[in-house]
Symmetry: C2
Subunit: 241 residues, 2 copies
């Protein structure tokens, strides 16, 4: 049977199968070996998903009765909404920093308990381009102030990195990684928050690296049916007996 990698997160995960998206690129990378399964929920924060965790992974849990469905890996990519400021128009999505960290711990613990062998990979929220956020509000915003700041996103990213350290699991520090490139605002963000194709490429490459580090490389995964290069041209059916 073909194993799974879950992509669990907010809109940056939900949109990851759009053109050039990091989710689609992962599915393409693992096209013969792994099912890349999308569990992205636009607008969600860690408080909401924690309440809904059993509903999201109900099937996986029931599959576990035969021990077959433990995923190879799961990416956990929340924080961009938690980091909405509590006194701006997206305040209903805000989760205080200490609660965000506790929630991430709870999510990781839940997965560790359910799937002891699964590689759990945290991804921090991306950096924020505040000017672009003002140009792309998703609600009336007469205040003239952005609903997110890069500084706040950075605090949540730091808490995410700390959580990974405390849990002994890998993390992609996207907030730091993206800002290493001088033109990160235009190159990686389409609306000051969501990702361009180049931004998606960064996530894809960083996730592949961490999966490789965790032993989930193409070389180590097995195919369910032989590759064309391994089929004998003079007797193809030999491969299917």
């Amino acid at each position: 049977m073909r194993p799974k990698i879950y992509l669990f997160g907010d809109s940056i995960t939900e949109q990851s199968f759009g053109d050039g998206g990091w989710g689609a690129s992962l599915a393409n990378h693992f096209s013969r070996t792994v099912d890349v399964v999308l569990r992205g929920y636009s607008g969600y924060n860690t408080r909401w998903v924690l309440k809904a965790l059993d509903r999201v992974f109900l099937v996986a849990e029931s599959d576990d009765s035969d021990g077959a469905a433990e995923p190879l890996a799961i990416t956990v990519f929340f924080g961009a909404n938690d980091a909405c400021l509590p006194d701006r128009y997206a305040a209903f999505q805000h989760v205080p920093l200490d609660e965000y960290k506790r929630n991430l711990h709870s999510i990781v613990s839940s997965f560790k308990k359910r799937w002891p062998k699964t590689l759990i990979l945290l991804i921090t929220p991306p950096p924020i381009d505040e000017d672009e956020r003002l140009r792309h509000p998703y609600a009336e915003n007469p205040s003239g102030l952005p609903e997110r700041t890069n500084e706040a996103a950075g605090a949540y990213a730091k808490a995410c990195v700390e959580t990974a350290g405390e849990c002994g699991i890998p993390v992609v520090d996207l907030w730091t990684r993206m800002q290493q490139f001088p033109d990160w605002r235009k190159a990686y963000l389409s609306d000051g928050l969501h990702l361009t194709e180049d931004g998606n490429k960064v996530v894809f490459e960083e996730v592949v690296k961490k999966l490789n580090d965790g032993g989930l490389s193409l070389e180590k995964l097995t195919v369910d049916l032989p590759r064309l290069a391994d089929i004998d041209h003079s007797d193809p059916l030999k491969s299917f007996q």
Copy 2:
């Protein structure tokens, strides 16, 4: 639990999660409602997959014990390799026309028996640009003759359309549909056989149309967790109780 749509086919399916690919676009289209599961096998013809059908869908079959895993739909997209000419360099992939049709019938019958409610959607092979095939051989080809012709692909496409009629299931006649556009060779094919982004778009749009016709539209599918627009800003957790 989230239902599945399987994409079952050859390289045109295996590559469908590349940039702008029709599989990724389907996964994006159904991002909150359906798992789009890739089962593409480059180079395969109907003879080989028929031998391997139980291995490809083993999991789904065992899942069936609880009646949970019957997919909503499955696309069956073979014929491009069957239509390789028997006296050219890719002869080992060739399957005679009458056997191709019999094999397609067997594949459809097997799915119908296993999953009586699943929408089975056949897709014909695309048209072939013979000049481009000569420029993109995948083996030594001193003959100066292409391994596929558009005429042969058309005969297999016709057999695929007939099979769909005989089985009472829908079909995307890609061979005919693509050639309705005068510049189809350049617009839709990247190497005379595989699809450009525009070619992928044609497949995506035609598949979505057929799924809609079969009742699998976004409007009729339910989400596992509420959309952001349906969450009460003054009491978000109400949605998660």
